[in-house]
């Protein structure tokens, strides 16, 4: 076989590169446009669908505590309270445990067990939400009702958040279930961010005489701060919208109580529970308005977090 030279005509770089580049940019623009259009379209549809309740109840909808489908009087305050409080309990637990786990896996774990352990934590993210709800209802709720809640009430009962009757289901239980669900998000992203901190940072710290712990706490984690905060905000966003697991363990009662043991309600739970059987226009409109409120809350949380990151963290960013 005689070697043959390629017989393709020479490609002129300018023409084809321009075409390829143009096609590439058009594809990217299309992706961004679709995404933005979907978000804006979603917002417009939510406002459109909730127009009747927006005009009927006005601003009072957000501060009203009554949710009465029989009389047609609706108010979202207990649901907003439940959503916000359960999500913040969740992120409080998940942030501490998640960042701790991520730090251990990134910095201190022996290499043989670091990857399998990391995979195991990420496996938690693969468990479906409804399975968490079932597990919560049949395993976590009895444990909390029998051991944890009475313990908290006995030792910290002077705090108003630990008073009142103990049902097992309630705000605290929902917070804990949500914490377990968002833990993999915090942990996985934080681990990647911590690992991405340059070796020079750590080596510099150790060279200057700091211990492993001091290096991690004072050099590595502050350098990874933005990324870790981003991970927490992402996880918080997920907790705000979580529906099935929350509705199975939160007690589904639209009241605001001081105690964390009391049953509560979240915005997404109400929608999931009542939408299929809602027949009157004002009822459906109010449910859609709850969706709109949830959308806006997520937006506000993300926006506030972004502002915080820009103002606080960008000042002394580790390079």
């Amino acid at each position: 076989m005689t070697p043959t030279t390629p017989t393709n005509p020479p490609i002129t770089p300018a023409a084809s590169a321009g075409r390829a580049d143009r096609a590439f940019f058009i594809t990217l623009w299309a992706a961004v446009t679709i995404f933005t259009a979907t978000a804006v379209g979603l917002f417009i549809q939510l406002v459109n669908g909730s127009w009747q309740s927006l005009t009927t109840f006005g601003f009072g909808f957000i501060v009203d505590s009554q949710w009465n489908p029989v009389t047609g009087h609706f108010g979202a305050l207990p649901m907003i309270y439940g959503t916000v409080v359960s999500s913040f309990i969740a992120i409080a637990f998940a942030a501490v445990i998640g960042i701790g786990a991520a730090t251990y896996l990134a910095e201190f774990a022996p290499r043989q067990i670091a990857d399998p352990l990391a995979t195991l934590v990420e496996l938690l993210a693969a468990v479906p939400s409804v399975v968490y709800g079932l597990w919560g209802l049949f395993v976590l709720v009895p444990i909390l009702r029998a051991f944890v809640d009475p313990f908290l009430q006995a030792h910290f009962g002077f705090l108003p958040i630990f008073t009142g009757p103990i049902y097992g289901v309630g705000l605290l239980t929902a917070g804990i279930i949500l914490a377990i669900m968002i833990l993999p998000t915090v942990s996985a992203i934080s681990r990647d961010v911590i690992r991405a901190v340059g070796r020079e940072q750590r080596e510099g710290g150790i060279a200057l005489g700091s211990t492993r712990w001091e290096t991690t706490w004072r050099i590595v984690l502050p350098a990874a701060r933005t990324g870790i905060f981003g991970a927490c905000v992402l996880a918080l966003g997920r907790a705000l919208g979580e529906t099935i697991a929350a509705t199975m363990v939160i007690g589904n009662k639209s009241v605001i109580a001081a105690s964390l043991f009391a049953p509560s309600y979240t915005l997404s739970s109400v929608i999931a529970n009542e939408f299929t059987e809602a027949t009157s226009d004002i009822y459906i409109s109010s449910l859609i308005e709850l969706g709109l409120i949830l959308f806006i809350i997520s937006f506000i949380v993300n926006g506030a977090a972004r502002l915080l990151v820009n103002s606080v963290f960008s000042r002394n960013e580790g390079r």
Binding site: Y167, G168, M248, P263, F275, E277, T279
Partner: protein
């Protein structure tokens, strides 16, 4: 070498299609559609399958999207019939363009289940049930409960009434019962598929399984579930006193007896709670199917009418096998009379 030429490909595809059509004649049958109540779904599933076995030219596709969805789709004329636990109100009928026939199709009861390991066969009067759900009775050793259960050691435990958090026909029947028995409940809460429960210690569970799960888990809890659910899960039921003064648990016989006292049910007068009669179970209710009186597609309407007519009469035998209550004969007659009003 075998080459897949265009001609051979075409022949292969045509052959496959022919075999498929021959092997599945149902593909060529008419498919009727219905949507609505989740309560009816297990019954409809089995009944319509049986109907298709008997009549191979018709299949029925039922989507259990909830009563609200059923009424929506029926109004939009995207389905042949809708199914709803509470009949359409006059506004809903008006929105659907009027001329709507509502037919009772299934019958169910609501049982009360409780969690008190030391108490077997708990008895409750109708007023006890109302007071528990109004939040007036907060402890099991309350004087009113002691009076209804003489000689029974009731524990000093908090009463936790469990309700359905999702909108459901079961809640409607239960609140209808409570509103009928107590004017105070009627003004304070009212009847609905979803209500604002007044008891301070109440908790909501999602679906029958949520209520049952909550009751089973929480000592001192009491909740209401569909009869079929209570029977199949062999749950401990409370005995409720009916209007005639007799205490009994919810059974298919009791529900049927209650239904038989009102053969003249129609869409505006459909409540059968707190029925008279010694054997009646006080917390019972119907589920309804809605069709247009003057449909445009007469052929489809005839097929729909035949399916529903069979379901309401011979199909009720299947209801019994699934722990639904078969419609009493006099109600079947009422249903047939309504179906015969369809202009074909």
């Amino acid at each position: 070498m075998f080459r897949m030429t265009r001609g051979r490909l075409f022949a292969a595809l045509a052959g496959t299609l022919a075999v498929a059509t021959a092997a599945f004649p149902a593909l060529a049958a008419t498919q009727l559609t219905g949507a609505g109540s989740t309560f009816d779904y297990p019954f409809f599933s089995k009944a319509f399958y049986q109907y298709s076995q008997n009549n191979s030219d018709v299949t029925v596709n039922y989507q259990s999207i909830g009563s609200g969805g059923g009424i929506e789709q029926f109004t939009a004329k995207t389905v042949d019939f809708g199914a709803t636990d509470v009949p359409m109100t006059s506004q809903e009928v008006q929105r659907a363009g009027g001329g709507v026939l509502q037919v009772p199709i299934a019958l169910g009861g609501v049982a009360l289940t409780y969690n008190l390991p030391s108490v077997k066969a708990l008895r409750l009067t109708r007023e006890n049930v109302v007071d528990i759900y109004l939040g007036k009775i907060t402890k099991w050793n309350d004087a009113a409960l002691k009076k209804t259960n003489p000689g029974v050691a009731l524990p000093d435990l908090a009463v936790i009434p469990v309700n359905r958090s999702d909108g459901s026909g079961t809640t409607y029947i239960f609140t209808d019962f409570l509103s009928t028995v107590s004017p105070e409940f009627k003004t304070k809460v009212g009847a609905g598929k979803s209500v604002q429960w007044p008891a301070a210690g109440s908790v909501g569970g999602k679906g029958n399984e949520g209520v049952a799960g909550s009751v089973k888990q929480t000592p001192g809890a009491i909740g209401y579930v569909e009869l079929a659910y209570a029977l199949e899960n062999k749950m401990e039921q409370a005995l409720v006193q009916n209007k005639a003064g007799k205490f009994a648990i919810c059974t298919t016989v009791g529900v049927k007896a209650a239904a038989a006292t009102r053969p003249d049910v129609n869409a505006t007068n459909f409540s059968i709670v707190d029925a008279a009669g010694a054997d009646s179970w006080p917390i019972s209710g119907y589920s309804w199917v809605v069709v247009y009186q003057s449909p445009q597609d007469k052929a489809r309407a005839k097929m729909t009418k035949d399916v529903l007519a069979w379901t309401v009469t011979k199909g009720q035998a299947i209801a019994g096998t699934l722990d639904y209550v078969p419609l009493p004969e006099n109600v079947q007659a009422t249903a047939m009379k309504t179906l015969n009003q369809i202009n074909l």
